[in-house]
């Protein structure tokens, strides 16, 4: 009987806590529809890797399959980059291309990343860990994974849980912040939308131009922005529809499937159940809050000089959480005035946030030595 049930004696209370956390992630994914494609595999993975003497993770000389997957797909940054091809193929940059000025809000809404970096260093995190935590503010899972892994952060599990959780919580996190820093008069500003046609030439040149400009300024971001833009080029070129479909569906789904469960290797109790995890969750919230503040305040600043005012709420869509953030702003506009349709503007800002968050990630890699 000892051979069969002896392993029961190896169970530690920390592992039981991790089973509960795994169960909570699965619950949130299924019942609350919170980023289910990532949180469900991560939740199950958290249970898998925290079973006593789990064969899924490396035990002594015996390699576990999840660690093998981690080394094959995350340690070398492959999975997040492959996922970026799929994401690039999914995004229609049309609303941004028809009004490129919107991109400035995407830039402003990365403020939370840099603000959180400073707060994290004040709390005692080493620079490489602080940078990895700060990038939660990119509101972009693959970028968070890429940067945290690049710096070899020990907190990658907590960082990814925080990044995906807050992305799912955007409809709860952003509205009170937006309301706090805008007046009702500002929220009532209407922004008429003029449909502008974007030529196919511009759509095709856009991913190439972005890659070249960003790559020259921030060479370490070439892989990130390059794969994102490669996906978009496949979408827009018009001659690779089958590849575009595959990137958007099969490739993105397959990588996501493996990514979630593979990341869970960093959710082993000993590394995850630390006071730092709670601090990382709090810092993630700080990053999202100050991203929102950055975008809104830039719009308010522009309004000091513009005749035709901008509804400052659209600045909040500059975070990369797509399309949740754009929808939040659109709904808030409608709640104030049921004839105020901000969706096309907020979508334009939201897709610009996708690019800006990758640029911010690249700049962090450039400015902080590994």
């Amino acid at each position: 009987m000892t051979e069969i049930f002896g392993n029961l004696l190896n169970i530690e209370w920390q592992q039981i806590v991790m089973w509960c956390i795994g169960g909570l992630l699965i619950y949130l994914a299924i019942k609350k529809d919170m980023e289910p494609t990532l949180l469900l595999p991560m939740g199950f993975g958290a249970i898998l890797v925290n079973l006593p003497l789990s064969g899924a993770v490396t035990q002594g000389h015996e390699e576990g399959v999840i660690d093998v997957l981690f080394n094959a797909g995350i340690a070398n940054e492959l999975f997040p980059l492959l996922l970026f091809i799929g994401i690039g193929a999914m995004i229609d940059f049309g609303p941004l291309l028809s009004n490129p000025k919107l991109m400035l809000f995407g830039a402003a809404a990365q403020f939370g990343i840099f603000f959180t970096l400073s707060v994290a260093t004040l709390l005692g995190f080493e620079l490489k860990d602080a940078a990895s935590i700060a990038i939660i503010g990119a509101a972009d899972g693959p970028t968070s994974i890429f940067v945290a892994n690049y710096f070899g952060s020990n907190y990658i599990g907590a960082i990814i849980v925080a990044a995906y959780s807050y992305m799912a919580l955007v409809p709860i996190v952003q509205p009170p912040i937006i309301k706090l820093i805008t007046t009702r008069k500002e929220r009532l500003i209407r922004m008429p939308y003029e449909q502008k046609n974007v030529s196919k030439t511009v759509r095709i040149l856009f991913p190439i131009v972005i890659t070249v400009i960003t790559g020259i300024v921030s060479p370490k971001s070439v892989a990130l922005i390059g794969f994102l833009m490669f996906g978009n080029l496949i979408r827009e070129c018009g001659v690779l529809n089958a590849l575009s479909e595959s990137a958007q569906n099969q490739l993105a789904n397959l990588v996501t499937l493996l990514l979630g469960i593979t990341v869970s290797t960093k959710m082993q109790a000993a590394a995850f159940l630390t006071p730092q995890t709670l601090m990382i969750l709090a810092l993630g919230l700080v990053a999202f809050v100050f991203d929102t503040v950055g975008g809104v305040l830039l719009a308010k600043f522009f309004n000091l000089f513009l005749k035709s005012k901008i509804n400052p709420m659209i600045g909040a869509s500059g975070i990369s959480a797509f399309p949740m953030s754009a929808r939040v702003v659109h709904k808030m506009g409608l709640a104030e005035d049921n004839q105020n349709f901000l969706l096309m503007h907020s979508i334009g800002v939201n897709v610009s946030g996708q690019i800006a968050s990758v640029i911010a990630g690249g700049l962090i890699l450039n400015l902080i030595a590994r």
Partner: protein
Amino acid sequence: MSKIDNFMFSLGVMGKGMLGIFAVTLIIVIAITLLNKFSKNKD
């Protein structure tokens, strides 16, 4: 590096990072605007 050294360094990263991101973004905005204009003229 001490906590204060790290903090001071991070403030520098914040300044350079925000400046960098606005500079890159501005270049992209100008590039897209020119692309749109060129493309319309061509049409």
